[in-house]
Assembly symmetry: C2
Homo-oligomer: 450 residues x 2
């Protein structure tokens, strides 16, 4: 199997357990706190928002969690996903590096998001919930939850960040085709939305605001729960099918990654790919560098503060210890809508603090330049989010060209850009700008951390 | 391998030859004629439009044609494509039928079109051509050729049918991302286009007009050639990788199709899937019913005339013996842009006349209804074109439910709808109408056949 263009696994090789990195870490991550008492939150605090099964997964210290058969049956529609060797990109870059990408765009909605949407919908349906609310940035998560809800017969209501709602009308249609209802956020349907609109009638929204709206709606309806597409432990847990498959695929390729790069917004695609490799690294079996790549316009790991902060703008969530730009931070409307989040997964933030991964921030034009090169060689037009990983991958491959090192680079290609093509149009027609975060804007926003 | 959700082949199982059905037919298809002399056209007549290798493939009587290694290397980016068992759709329909679909949406552009775009670009590049011109309806073919030209370093210029150009702006961006130049058709860049615009300034265009424009441009530039995405023998030849793979995959599934349904516009996806199965049927090894499904608004097989007619509107092509609605026919702007062609592949037309396949026409709302059911069970939102095949598949499955027959249905799912989502929006919001072709319109158009 060495020497192939792609490394495929059969349905029998689908992982049957998710991997929980927490028990393998040298110390556990700090717990979420109740904003009033500043005491660790318990299951009862989370019960209005999440079903019991997911609350249990959020705090479990088991190394492995079984994947229900009903979830595996849906995963089988697109999983295992392929691992590619980017031979044509390597040739274009004239690099001695070997570049691999794990491609999640084969899912029904074109990204990694259904990996967690499906089990989240399953566990909610199993506990009698009939309606799920959520936010969506780029629209990938909303589409994924819409598909998952169609699968298990749940109603699905999505607050889509206004910037994406306007830039990406096709995403709304996809969600509606799967049967969901979509609102732009901020909306006048919630107190949180109305408050933002009163202060900023032209608000382009943010994930933080949209989360406030969806949380508020779920908390007010006993038959409804809320679903989050990233950030939380159980979300990253579900995504580890990516990394588990990739490890098997590297065995087929008879190769081992030296550098693993992925984009980070809330951190779920990155964590999903990286955690199984981190397990192997902590056990001393491999020693890859692990590199998170974030947008220069929303650099939570590289320029944020590691502190307890709210996950949403209105302050409805528990306090999470994470790298944050401040919960009131509204990122510029860059095209990578899925990376426009003020915070970072607490678990990834903790791992970063432990020194187990590094992080860089990249401006968006460099990212789209890498995306176009990738499309013209590998055929896949990458979503704006993973162009950040590709930009870092190109940097590394060109470094290898200078030094002659034959490094093995693994890139998380978490989705395609079919519904994000206006972003490429902006890039190709010279209408894209690099929105670096100004220091004074950052300081104002950091001052809002409670 | 029986009992799976999907049947995958490895790169080693990629077909290394295309299959030519012509020598296996009881009689050969009638040749194309020169419009002036009404004599069969020779290679010299076609040389201004196509490279020698493709002209040779157009008339070959060899049963198999080797696929060049350079083409296989690009096919490997997405081929072999998966064969799925639609277990969740079967359950929804409560049918004893077993439904399989061969999914071509895994290609870089989301359809079967790159299967022929890649070899066409390869052979042109090998003979020193530097520029390819073409038309595109739904945009799938233009995207495929844009990708293929990027792969071999050719310039690519696409005339996109105005109705699709306006309905599907994302397609244009995809073509441009791959490096192509895109014009709406009719355009004022060609004599053919200017003539149409003079008579019909608001023309929504047609494949026939767009072909005239692309052919005119290629014929006027010695470094350019023209590429066609369907209809011709060499195009259908290249598409037979679909059927060859499907036959191997049915062996893995330990099953045999009783009914094969596919949509027909120019006929390339249908021929590509069907011809290898037809070989097996003609050899007496299997006996499936083979059913072409066309839109009620553009029913060339079911309501057209079997006659010599032009392939384009302006009358620049050789005369082709085919089922045609008349070369001046302009179909209503239905959403299945890829099926808006006045004629049908001469080879498929001939096979239809031989009684080796049947044909039905289906109105578009029934098609989109099937498409939504499919999306909500199987997760893939089908392109408007293959919703026609799915509508026929649903009809057959529901017939089986009534009769209790456990038929095995194979459907050609030739692409996804990511760039066609406005069509689903029209359907979901009740803005879609069924444009059945009026008899008097048809008779006027048929009168234009030379």
């Amino acid at each position: 199997m060495a020497g192939r263009t792609k490394y495929l696994l059969d349905e029998d090789d689908l992982p049957t357990q998710w991997y929980n990195v927490v028990p393998d870490l040298p110390e556990p991550p700090p717990p979420p706190l109740h904003p009033g008492t500043r005491e660790p939150v318990g299951p009862d605090d989370l019960a209005p928002l999440f079903p019991q099964a997911l609350i249990a997964q959020e705090v479990t210290t088991d190394r492995y969690v079984d994947i229900p058969g009903e979830v595996l049956d849906v995963y089988r529609l697109w999983r295992p996903s392929p691992l590619y060797r980017a031979r044509r990109l390597e040739k274009l870059l004239d690099t001695p590096a070997r570049i691999y990408y794990k491609y999640e765009g084969v899912s029904p909605v074109g990204s990694h998001k259904p990996n967690t949407a499906v089990p989240q919908a399953f566990y909610n349906a199993a506990e009698g919930v009939t309606r799920l609310t959520t936010e969506t940035g780029a629209g990938q998560w909303g589409s994924a939850l819409a598909f998952a809800c169609a699968t298990y017969g749940l109603d699905c209501e999505v607050w889509q960040v206004r910037a994406s709602y306007d830039q990406k009308p096709y995403r709304k249609i996809m969600m509606e085709t799967f049967g969901a209802t979509v609102h732009p956020s901020p909306s006048d349907l919630t107190q949180a939305g109305r408050k933002v609109l009163a202060d900023h009638p032209d608000s382009t929204g943010s994930l933080g605001i949209a989360i406030s709206e969806a949380v508020e709606q779920a908390a007010g309806d006993p038959n409804a729960r809320y679903a989050l597409g990233s950030v939380l432990n159980h979300v990253l847990l579900h995504q580890t099918v990516i990394g588990e498959e990739a490890i098997k695929q590297f065995e087929l390729a008879e190769d081992t990654p030296d550098v693993i790069v992925g984009c980070t917004g809330g951190g779920s695609n990155f964590g999903g790919l990286v955690f199984p490799f981190l397990r192997e690294k902590l056990a001393g079996r491999i020693s890859p560098e692990i590199r998170a790549v974030e947008p220069a316009a929303c650099p939570s790991l590289t320029r944020g503060r590691y502190a307890y902060d709210f996950g949403d703008t209105a302050g409805l969530t528990p306090l999470l210890k994470m790298h944050t730009l401040g919960h009131e931070f509204i990122p510029d409307p860059i095209h990578a809508g899925g990376l426009r989040y003020h915070g970072m997964s607490p678990l990834l933030s903790h791992i970063y603090e432990l020194g187990l991964l590094e992080a860089i921030a990249v401006p968006q034009q460099e990212c789209f330049s890498a995306g176009v090169r990738f499309a013209r060689t590998e055929g896949i037009i990458p979503a704006p989010e993973p162009t950040h990983a590709l930009a870092a991958c190109v940097r590394e491959a060109l470094r290898c060209k200078e030094t002659g090192e034959e490094k093995v680079i693994l890139t998380a290609l978490c989705g395609h850009a079919h519904l994000d093509l206006p972003a490429y149009n902006a890039y190709l027609t010279g209408q894209m700008v690099d929105n670096d975060l100004a220091q004074d804007t950052l300081e104002t926003s950091l001052a809002g951390i409670p």
